[in-house]
Symmetry: C2
Subunit: 255 residues, 2 copies
Amino acid sequence: MENKFVFAKEIVKEAGDYILAHMQEELHIERKSSPTDLVTRLDKEVQNFLVDRIRSHYPDDQFCAEEGCLRASVGYGSVWVIDPIDGTNNFVAQGEDFAIMVAYFENGVGQFGIIYDVMKGHCYHGGGAFQACLNEELLPNFKDKPLRDFLIASNAGMLETNAWGVAELANASLGVRIYGSAAISFSKILSGQLLTYITYLQPWDYAAASIIGESLGYQIVTLTGEPVDFQTRQPIMMVPTDKLAEIQSYIYERK
Amino acid sequence: MENKFVFAKEIVKEAGDYILAHMQEELHIERKSSPTDLVTRLDKEVQNFLVDRIRSHYPDDQFCAEEGCLRASVGYGSVWVIDPIDGTNNFVAQGEDFAIMVAYFENGVGQFGIIYDVMKGHCYHGGGAFQACLNEELLPNFKDKPLRDFLIASNAGMLETNAWGVAELANASLGVRIYGSAAISFSKILSGQLLTYITYLQPWDYAAASIIGESLGYQIVTLTGEPVDFQTRQPIMMVPTDKLAEIQSYIYERK
């Protein structure tokens, strides 16, 4: 597994270099499911690059990836979960606050995750048998404090409508942030800069963070407290296990 | 004025170095007007450092500053407007996404502004007779695009309650971000990464951005479209003059 992990970090770094080399060119922006659901040629090219590199080294491995129709279930065999550019709107409008995410599973068990904030050069990696690190530095285990001393993150729509009580949790915390990228939000949790992140996500949005965070005391669960399914878009939160009950006293389905 | 501007940039850089040298020490966090309105010993020490340095060079100049009771009006004489740490909650909880802001006025006319994102080492400076720059690079003039292609920023409370129609504007844009710092939000407008920032602010929160932004095609006005008063806490927005009318079609007081 060590070799596979080293290989994965190498190709993610190469994919980041590819983005840096091409992000000033015409991006061929398209809108997918809605006017604010953007995809660029670089999302597709980076995904193809990663899939091709993995296939040439590990021809029997399967994929679940954001762009196109690679939708293997993580429950069986060797499966790579890929989000080539998470935070595409930030990528297009700001040229920062986006990341490449890769996670690797064997028969449903997460082996490692990688979140690469390309513009900052910050690579969060680890999980499974590997220590959770930011670049070469060990990431901190969750350290408890009162809710009032933590910042939280959510998506804008849930905050606007107080869906699942997100606004109530925000008002009991030190404040709420909206970064427009799951990867950026998760990486701030992994760094101890945020308590939780609450939003609707697809498997490729949370798979890497889920694996990396486990060894630091975090878990990703649905907003009803169930395990995530790694298959469909679900309302989810990443939370420290030590803080789950307190957060659940705010976050539940309002009838 | 050139000398004063160079002096101002030097002391702001020194203040940033002071923060970097002391931010790992005990911060003596206090809560001011509310449980989420934090101040630390470094807010006070940085303000004292800046005021002392300016007084020793320019003994007749006046001050309007966040901490304590320096509240000169910018309308008369030589006045420095100082926010020693903008984004104190980010500073405390995240150790990044905060900034030092300094603005200088003579008889009501802004001469220059400085926004220093300490952790990134990004110094936004200029306005008045000086070109607007990020470190040594010229900042871009506002470039128009459709509203749907721009991200915007606001504060969380206004988004939660759709105060002044902020949520409606957010929903017509590419998305809304909440960074928890006026300085960080303004600096992203100055870099062309955000269209507008809508919130309630005090003069020291917006003075620097107001002066720097003017030469790039931006203005800061109240949400009723009036000039800001540089005296009281007001609902304000920084907007490109070219986009003011379109934004005002969303942002107005709901009866």
